[in-house]
Symmetry: C2
Subunit: 203 residues, 2 copies
Amino acid sequence: MPKIKDTDTENQILNAAKKVFQEKGMDGARMQEIADKAKINKSMLHYYYRSKQLLFEAVFKNAFALLAPQLNAILNDDSSIEEKVISFTNNYISFVVKHPYLPSFIIQELNRNPKFILKLKDQKGFPNIEKFKKQVVLEIEQGILKPIKGEQLFINILALNIFPFVASPLVKAFVNINDTEFKQLMVDRKTEVANFIINAIKV
Amino acid sequence: MPKIKDTDTENQILNAAKKVFQEKGMDGARMQEIADKAKINKSMLHYYYRSKQLLFEAVFKNAFALLAPQLNAILNDDSSIEEKVISFTNNYISFVVKHPYLPSFIIQELNRNPKFILKLKDQKGFPNIEKFKKQVVLEIEQGILKPIKGEQLFINILALNIFPFVASPLVKAFVNINDTEFKQLMVDRKTEVANFIINAIKV
DNA sequence: GTCTATAGCCAGATAGAC
DNA sequence: GTCTATCTGGCTATAGAC
């Protein structure tokens, strides 16, 4: 059985850094706060990760590596579009309840530095939409789906699933609900969103 | 004819501050950069706005005051849900093409400091969903719409319209398109999104 | 109102003892 | 590998001349 890395100093740092960076962003994060949370000395951060920038990049790549498989599930799976919408919606919302800061962290930091995505795009496992697009064309020809561009459908699926978590303070204020009610609304969306999409696209 | 305020120092500052804060966020923005962009001395910023925090709040309230009427259009208007979806989608996408950083700026800063929305909620003109909810219930009873909670429908409308702009670097990378293609896709969404929503909810 | 100069602070990074 | 102490630079904010 392999050693549990979470007990190592390096991983205590990474876990603390995740929390602080995902909550405060690169610019708002403080090395001191990461050190405190990791219960180690500030100079240890530099010993292991050399600089704030490199520590941040480790956290970011880590976060992205968690998100990518979620998307690949809907892009590369062999089931029908309808089945994929149902399983993705259900899985994604469960995923993000476990990692609430993750989507907004990734989006916020990519807005701050859009070039950063180029580094990720070259890597194996980066989500690719081509198979999904072909499948949409095929199911339209078969009379299963109404005409829609694969790109637009994919954007719609992402939007309906990701947006409420990214914009949660705004949503809570507009819909005029507290945290508990918001959580319930998000749980409801596991089936709500899938139905909405399927109603929109099925012939 | 009133004096155009943009020629005043105070408004040069506000315009420069808008650009810098909306691009870099509160934490990433530098007073020096705002001063340079406004072509004035750094100490003038403090003369007119006292502190970075107060200048930021002026910019933020300004941004929110631009966004709120867009939402009130769909919440308070007297036309049918279908008509409101069509006009909101068309108008909102035009609006955001003119103010590309605005939605992500508001969302990012509210995530950084969620308490800030409480200050806005008390103000007159803050979007209120109650009328919209009643209308959804009514149109379902009349057999116009399929059963759906007003909250969920409203979240879906926001998500489909706002998300692609907030997450544009991510969307461009996943859909594998350049800036020009992205813009075209967003223009297409003016009708695309309205059709999608109407297909999803109309009986 | 607008400038220059600088105070005062804080954060990231490093040196060096152990 | 881990600590304390400190350097260095950059940032907000202000003092004060004009």
